[in-house]
Symmetry: C2
DNA sequence: ACCCTGTCTTGAACCATTCCAGTCTGGTGT
DNA sequence: ACACCAGACTGGAATGGTTCAAGACAGGGT
């Protein structure tokens, strides 16, 4: 995979090719689920200096163009990833905020057909799994599904 | 339903019974999915004056005790609801942020069994449906599933 | 009735993100 | 090649929801 194809992606998305954009997009490819701050640091290592706002601006442009997807887990800063278009969801560690990709076991959207959405017109379903990553489960003693803040959805099977 | 049973709920949850707590809990029962600011206003109408921090504090205590559930839709302030423990999810209006309850069509958690969560120990699955409420769909001309920012999960049925 | 723990108040800080005005530059047309 | 201009970047400041800190106060067990 040649990195030089990144500019072509930008072009294909009707976006100008600039150093910050290429840098953000490539860094994001090599480290999925990075947050804005991670990217600022990473891009600065590449280019010497970039303003925080430039990174946010780039991320907004890329998101609008559909090249990156924004994930906003409650209580954590937004994460970004380049894997777009496929129906996948995320696991988030309650402790360290680590994010992992999860393909829905059923493949795509069977339970995502909402039952009676009060007249809402639904166009997207977003699933976030909460739990603990391997490291945090080991670090924090006694963490198991029993110590979770809320019993939560999974622990209540259908009546 | 007597309002006076609210203190008993607090007691049952090992919480002290105070005016702000009773007020927050009862207001939250009568207006589900209220955000912190709504509650500050509502509680002030009842009690004359309460500090914003008291409301946040009460909400945190109630949430920790499992009496209320916190919903944090990306890009909107947190909402709170008293309906806890049952496996239900939410629809959020992209335009006005209105929130509605949705019972999963399948009843409970079939697709919520994550496939290969990278070693994560999952204890909860959170589903948020995005779309437009009845009013906003009418107000903003041309809104339909075709104008949605991202095609999203629902538009991609299983291969 | 007393005391202690936990709750409310006031005030300020926090953080991710956005807004603003100005300067610079990619890329298209001449 | 050159010039032009919409659109990107820079720096600085502001926003808004939420949380922290220190002190005054009060619920409720003893």
């Amino acid at each position: 995979m040649h990195l030089s194809e990144t500019p072509m992606k930008l072009r294909a998305a009707q976006l100008r090719v600039t150093a910050p954009r290429v840098a953000v997009l490539e860094e994001l490819t090599s480290r999925p689920h990075a947050d804005a701050d991670d990217l600022v640091v990473a891009v600065r290592e590449r280019l010497g200096s970039v303003s925080v706002q430039a990174v946010y601006d780039v991320l907004r442009a890329l998101t609008a163009a559909g090249l990156v997807r924004r994930i906003e887990p409650a209580g954590h800063p937004a994460r970004y990833e380049t894997r777009t278009g496929d129906n996948h969801h995320h696991v988030v560690c309650r402790s360290c905020g680590a994010v992992g990709d999860v393909d829905c076991a059923v493949g795509a959207a069977p339970c995502l057909q909402a039952d009676d959405p009060d007249g809402f017109t639904i166009d997207e379903a977003e699933v976030i799994y909460w739990g603990y990553c391997t490291e945090c489960r080991d670090d924090v003693p006694g963490i198991d599904r029993s110590t979770a803040p809320q019993p939560g959805s999974l622990s209540e099977p259908a009546p």
